[in-house]
Amino acid sequence: MRIGILSFAHLHAEGYVQNLRRISGVEVIGFSDTDPERGRRISQSFGLRWFWTHEGLLAEAPDAVIVTSENAHHREHVAMAAAAGADVLCEKPVAATVADALAMQEAVERSGVRFMTAFPMRFSPAVQALRDMVRSGELGRVLAVVGVNHSENPKRHRAWFAQKALAGGGATLDHTVHLADLYRWIFETEVGEVAAEVANPFDPEVNVDTAGLLLLRLENGIPASIDASWSRPNHYPRWGHVKMEVVGERGTAILDAFAGHLHVWRKGAGRDYEWLGYHSDPAQGMMEAFVRSVRDQSEPPVTWRDGFEAMRVALAAYRAAEAGVPVDPRSLV
């Protein structure tokens, strides 16, 4: 199977290449990137063929592509890949507007290619164990959920994350989608209502929000919160956290998906003090699932709809913060 990487704008692309290279029968045919400095650097450090244009990569007729461009370019790039007949794994958020996301769905359906949204946390064994625990009824009726996906400001890795024109939003759009997707997947319900505070308390140099706190009501009545802030300082020992506490009538489950780490102090490393994870990368399982669906021509385990609904929760947070009243994400059309 021949897979191409459509843009290295998103920093996850680097990990995805490693994930793909661990899967037998997969050939990473190269990557396209229109940024010459990044193209040269990635080409050298990963030993990958570099295409100056996305058309050049797609002309090689890859079986599938990973779209890891800036959020605002997903629509155009997914449409190009679909027209070229390549199955797509698209980085989250699938888009920054409802219109873009719907246009992507249309392009995908017209060409008949498969589309998977990159939600790696569904493939974390700890998250899967939590889901099993909830669904088996072990915790009893779920009473409340507290979720945290806060991080450092990603702009020091890639500037566009904090540029409104390319990212479409800041912390709230970047991080809400992970937990919103896990809530939909674990509790098998839609998000009914979103109340939120969205602001930029941390970085006056950027034109996007750097903090977002969401208070949701899931459709089945469960109250659930999401902390989507870029509230960790740059010298924090790791990029951030994915945490969730599920309070049930019979028991409580406490998830800290990246808890498995060594404490490491090193000279000359990126961080003087670092939490170095020792568990397998959830993105590996995600990539294997994507490759399997391309190979078997089966429905990917995470769909466009999943990506769309999670995005609508984030967009509802912006709307709710602005209006000062709760917003139903499904009212955004």
């Binding site: 974390s124 064994p125 700890a126 164990a129 939590l130 625990m133 019979r250 028991g251 409580t252 489950a253 406490i254 998830l255 800290d256 998906a257 990246f258 808890a259 498995g260 780490h261 060594l262 404490h263 490491v264 102090w265 090193r266 000279k267 490393a269 170095l276 020792y278 568990h279 397998s280």
Partner: protein, 324 residues
């Protein structure tokens, strides 16, 4: 490769469950105790073998999870029957017994994997990778901890059968210390005063390596029922690594307290990947592809000798020189 398990106690169950999850060709088991065997084969839906001879006829790989005192006889007979052997740690009760197992493997041309599982715990592996890659500079002081509650009634409590706490438990971290620093030159150990009628025992061993490097290895059957704590602390001149089982696990639960403690505790909480599965997967893959094992039989023998040196020093109160 058809796998048969001999010995259906705690470790037999752990290995059987791992084979099941891996989808390995685990076909049957033998145990001298027919009731234990019946319960075991029922739980894992495999064949009960009427004798060890029948097991040897039916499988390609013999997984010996019988008590330590039975290791030599079972492993040697498996090699004589031309089988590869996966052998639960510790290798044997004495170096001579261990050497006879290694010799039987050599003579048969078959392979011996001693299941030193700590090398397959992801955190211990990651820390060793940092050390071996020179990320910490020159390692000067290593601290390793492994303390749990005493074993319940059974052969573990009898040092004649299990080797006692240093040989059964501390051997994990003694092996890990060797993996990081190589062979020590001297061992000095202190143990807790005896407690009448109990197997409570806590041992701290100071390992001296060439060039002034050192390690403090702590092991114990000493905690209240249900507790099991492990930790590593590796300090170099350019970096430091800490980890402790006190750290929160990826998934914890709060339920009403009062669950009964298991017979022998296993440090499973907090792990996403089962190290026993990683270990057995490695062993089977190495056997299938003719690749070297991450733990050589000679490592298992050296770890046993080190554990016996710790036991001897703890008993005599004097340092023991370790022959390299």
């Amino acid at each position: 490769m058809k796998i048969g398990i001999v010995g259906t106690g705690t470790m037999g169950r752990v290995h059987a469950a791992a084979y099941r999850r891996m989808g390995a060709e685990f076909v049957g088991a033998y145990d001298r105790n027919p009731e234990k065997l019946a319960a075991f084969v029922g739980a894992y839906t495999v064949d009960p073998f009427k004798s060890f001879e029948e097991l040897l006829m039916r499988v390609d790989v013999v997984d010996v999870t019988a008590p330590t005192y039975a290791h030599e006889e079972l492993a040697v007979r498996a090699f004589e029957a031309g089988k590869d052997v996966i052998l639960e740690k510790p290798l044997a009760l004495t170096p001579d017994s261990g050497r006879r197992i290694l010799e039987a493997a050599r003579e048969s041309g078959r392979r011996l994997f001693v299941a030193m599982v700590v090398r397959f715990f992801p955190q211990y592996r990651k820390a060793a990778e940092l050390v071996h890659a020179g990320e910490l500079g020159r390692v000067g002081v290593v601290r390793l901890k492994r303390v749990l509650f005493p074993p319940g009634p059974g052969w573990y409590r009898d040092p004649e059968k299990s080797g006692g706490m240093p040989v059964d438990l501390m051997i994990h971290d003694l092996d890990y210390a060797r993996w990081l620093l190589g062979d020590p030159v001297r061992v000095f150990a202190r143990k807790s005063p005896p407690v009448e009628g109990e197997v409570l025992e806590h041992v701290q061993a100071l390992l001296s390596f060439p060039d002034g490097r050192m390690a403090l290895v702590e092991g114990g059957w000493a905690y209240p029922a249900g507790y099991f704590r492990t930790a590593l602390d590796i300090a170099g001149d350019r970096g430091l690594v800490e980890w402790s089982s006190d750290q929160p696990p990826p998934l914890a639960t709060l339920f009403p307290a009062g669950e009964p403690a298991p017979e022998v505790g296993l440090p499973m909480a907090g792990l996403e990947e089962d190290p026993y599965e990683l270990e057995l997967r490695h062993a089977l893959e190495a056997l299938e592809r003719g690749k070297p094992f991450d733990v050589a039989p000679e490592d298992a023998l050296a770890a046993l000798e080190l554990a016996l040196a710790v036991r001897e020093s703890a008993a005599s109160g004097r340092p023991v020189e370790v022959a390299s």
